[in-house]
């Protein structure tokens, strides 16, 4: 369906506003259901704890780490609570 068709069905001629609302609707759809799923890879760096969530990611389905022995990505567990730190950085 084209944006033109959406505008005709809704009886408006404000293209920019309709596109903005369509982006909102798509965002809401992606937030509700797994309509368009993607994957993002990033490097794990020795001694680095924080990794940014990809900017265009809407809903996290899983996070995996590469098992280099088996050459497979395996899902890892999510911690419900933040671990207690003895110092403010490395808990080791």
């Amino acid at each position: 369906m084209t944006i033109q068709e959406v505008m005709e069905r809704t009886g408006t001629n404000e293209t920019g506003l309709v596109i903005a609302w369509l982006k909102d609707a798509i965002h809401l759809i992606q937030s509700t259901y797994n309509e368009n799923v993607g994957t993002w890879q990033t490097n794990i760096t020795d001694g680095v704890r924080d990794y940014p969530i990809p900017a265009n990611l809407i809903k996290i389905m899983s996070i995996s780490v590469l098992d280099t022995q088996e050459k497979k990505y395996k899902r890892i567990r999510r911690m419900v609570h933040q671990p207690i730190m003895t110092k403010d950085n490395d808990p080791e």
Partner: protein, 158 residues
Amino acid sequence: MSKNVEESYAYYISGRNIQLYEIAYSGANEDVTYSVRLPEYKDQIKLKYPDETITSGLMFEGTAFIEPFVDVDPNELSGGNQPTLTEVTSPNEVSHINLNRMLSLACVDYVKGMLAERSNDINKKEYYMKEFFSKLADSESNKRKQVFIQPVNPFALR
């Protein structure tokens, strides 16, 4: 070399970041191969920062804002094959929404709802938002075939 990563890594979501921890059982992450662990070893679990560099080692999977607008209709086959979609970064009137027909109709309801909200007609907005979510549910249930089997009561009068 990373191994048993499903046992030896865990993450915590902290705002826009994830905190990635390596779990060290009994102080050494190579001890995770045993199948039975006694309860007293729980005290030996420690968390530490990842202690090795893994290229493309972390993978996120999820829904995203991927190619929301494309140049051709994603719901029409091209010569019997899947259409080749190219993202339109600056969408205009002739761009297509990259959704199936049902979800595109849901988007029409969403826009109608927003127009109703702009004219302060909240009841109408609620109606269109209900239609929006109803079409979302329709689209999702179209992907699944579910059979409900209900036993008939043998003493029921028919």
